[in-house]
């Protein structure tokens, strides 16, 4: 059993950098389906973009297409870069509803000045402007921010193109926990072992990942800081330690311990102190997920005889009593709250199929989102519009993302090995 802590010698670091170079995505993404009403948008390559080490408009177009909410309109010979150069009737003829134009300027020192405008073709007005100067190494990040701006202006929802996802890749006997951009590029290793890693969970500020490692021949919960790679075991009690879930304020985690018998849910401070028992059943209580207001958790429990989803207040007078939420079928597990707390996603077993579903908290209405066979670990993107989960296609483990209305799907796969255990990171905070 080998443990490779990520203190790579320089030559290995170079190899990893090459593996994550922008030419090649660590995760390949395919898109299926599409919303019934897609916004037709034309993106004109920015002035002087071809001189840059990284083009911007292809990244923006790919982001918008992946959302399933946009249909690309080809510029077909038109190349305005400033609003004054736009002849709106020509774009109306092409069926565009929105138009993106811009220019790039290479500055001394390797910086790039960007100026981008989003225009409403019918109303002939400017909807948004993006003006920024970035280092050449930050061009992809800038492209994602531009895509976020376009997405937000035209759909009214928060864009998630600047977010990251964590996932585990298994290749032969090696397991690697990685973090990549939401479009699959720039994969960075977090930790690699020859023993399994499961249940990655992002801290609310996006700076740390909690995960479960089996390097000690038993499950232990670790918290690792992404920038420094420093990590500590936050739950390494006698027995099994697993299922970490961060409280929304980032100060505590819910974990599942067998310390006091069975599998029960506990609260623990992020520094490992302050252990407090939350669930009190003689059965299995696991997979906790905090509500966005931090006042309650939903979790999986078989206290009623079969695994179902329950909710429990964690403070105040009602704390400790659990209310059952799922009543259809005999196996409902892996709940995760939506960012607005109004619904949750989970896995529902029907016969021998395991599918992703969502349930509205208030109405209890259930919607099945997938019809594959072995779906697991669903969680929401931070705008609540996409659910990311793990599944199997032709015997290989891949990730899949489905829009919350069930209409658009993406598949994310690695070139080799199986991908599993995805977790969508939070929205980037202002620095």
């Amino acid at each position: 059993m080998q443990i490779r802590l990520p203190e790579f010698p320089p030559y290995v670091a170079v190899v990893l950098w090459l593996m994550s170079a922008p030419l090649h995505a660590a995760l390949d993404i395919e898109i299926f389906g599409g919303g019934a009403t897609q916004i037709p948008i034309a993106i004109v390559p920015f002035a002087a973009e071809e001189k840059l080490t990284q083009s911007i408009t292809p990244v923006v177009a790919a982001d918008l297409q992946r959302s399933g909410l946009f249909r690309m309109i080809e510029p077909a010979g038109l190349a305005p870069h400033e609003p004054i150069e736009v002849v709106y009737s020509e774009w109306i003829n092409r069926g565009a509803g929105a138009l993106v134009i811009g220019s790039t300027t290479l500055l001394p020192g390797g910086q790039v000045a960007l100026r981008v405008r989003l225009l409403d073709v019918a109303k002939q007005v400017q909807l948004a402007t993006y003006i920024e100067t970035v280092p050449a190494g930050q061009l992809r990040a800038a492209a994602h921010r531009i895509a976020d701006m376009i997405y937000e202006k035209l759909t009214g929802d928060v864009g998630v193109f600047s977010t990251r996802i964590a996932y585990v890749v298994k290749e032969g006997k090696r397991y690697a926990l990685q973090v990549a951009d939401a479009d699959g590029f720039n994969a960075q290793p977090v930790i690699e072992y020859t023993e399994p890693i499961i249940s990655p969970a992002w801290s609310p500020d996006g700076k740390q990942l909690a995960y479960v490692s089996f390097e000690n021949k038993k499950p232990v919960v670790y918290i690792q800081t992404l920038a420094t790679r420093a990590r500590k075991a936050v739950a390494n009690f006698k027995g099994s330690n697993s299922a970490p879930a961060w409280s929304p304020d980032g100060k505590r985690l819910a974990v599942v311990l067998s310390l006091m018998g069975g599998s029960q849910i506990f609260l623990i401070n992020a520094d490992g102190g302050g252990l407090q028992r939350l669930s009190q059943s003689s059965g299995i209580d696991t997979e906790p997920s905090f509500s966005p207001d931090g006042q309650s958790i939903i979790f999986t429990s078989d206290r009623g005889g079969s695994p179902q989803i329950y909710r429990m207040q964690i403070s105040g007078r009602a704390s400790g009593t659990a209310e059952r939420l799922t009543f259809e079928g005999s196996y409902n597990v892996s709940p995760h709250y939506s960012p607005d707390g109004k619904s949750f996603t989970f896995v529902h077993r029907n016969g021998d199929r395991f599918n992703v579903a969502t349930q509205d908290v208030a109405t209890r209405q259930v919607q099945l989102l997938t019809d594959s066979k072995f779906d697991e670990s669903p969680s929401f993107a931070p705008n609540g519009r996409i659910i990311l989960y793990a599944t199997e296609v032709k015997g290989r483990g891949i990730l899949s993302a489905v829009s919350s209305d069930g209409k658009t799907r993406q598949q994310l796969s690695t070139q080799a090995g199986d991908v599993r255990e995805p977790a969508w990171g939070p929205l980037p905070r202002l620095q």
């Binding site: 399994p196 499961i198 099994s240 697993s242 067998s258 599998s263 299995i284 892996s334």
Partner: protein, 170 residues
């Protein structure tokens, strides 16, 4: 009958001062160990000392308890195995075991981790009921993460519904 025989033999074995048992030519049943009742040492160089934990003729070398679908009850056919290990722990106060419970691959990983935990706890409870000390036993789960049966069929799933007994230092 088999159970009484095993218990008698275990008593005889534990009566021996030496930690090792001698293999004999007349093993009637693969699940029981030596039938020698004498505690005399072997003649010089004739027979090597064997660690009972790894002696293939000793029940202690058997380390896996298998479970039925959706169950964590220790079946009758594994009772003597569990009791043998409990007896070993009673006789060797410094010995420590790690019980690793497993589950088949179907369903949620974390829920399967909890199912595996149940299977490890079950064996632990059976051992402590047979007199082993709680402090000598740690029960943990590997869930579906370390399967022995690698297929996606009932035979593999049955192989993976299992608790393994591992001694510290192995």
């Amino acid at each position: 009958m088999k159970k009484i025989f095993a218990v008698l033999l275990i008593s005889l074995l534990s009566a021996c001062a030496s930690k090792s048992t001698q293999p004999t030519a007349e093993v009637e049943d693969k699940s029981v160990g030596s039938s020698r009742s004498s505690e005399s040492s072997p003649t010089t160089g004739a027979v090597p000392n064997l660690n009972p934990l790894t002696d293939p003729n000793n029940i202690l070398s058997k380390r896996s308890v298998y479970f039925d679908f959706d169950s964590y009850v220790v079946k009758d056919e594994y009772r003597s195995l569990v009791q043998a290990h409990a007896q070993y722990l009673r006789d060797n106060g410094n010995a420590r075991v790690l019980l690793q419970g497993n589950a088949d691959e179907r369903g949620s990983r974390e829920y399967n981790l909890a199912l595996g935990q149940r299977r490890a706890d079950s064996v632990k409870n059976a051992m402590t009921l047979s007199g082993a000390k709680e402090s000598q036993i740690e029960s943990v789960s590997l869930g579906e993460e370390k399967p022995r049966g690698l297929g996606h069929d009932e035979a593999s799933w049955a192989e993976n519904r299992r608790t393994d007994i591992r001694y510290q230092g192995e």
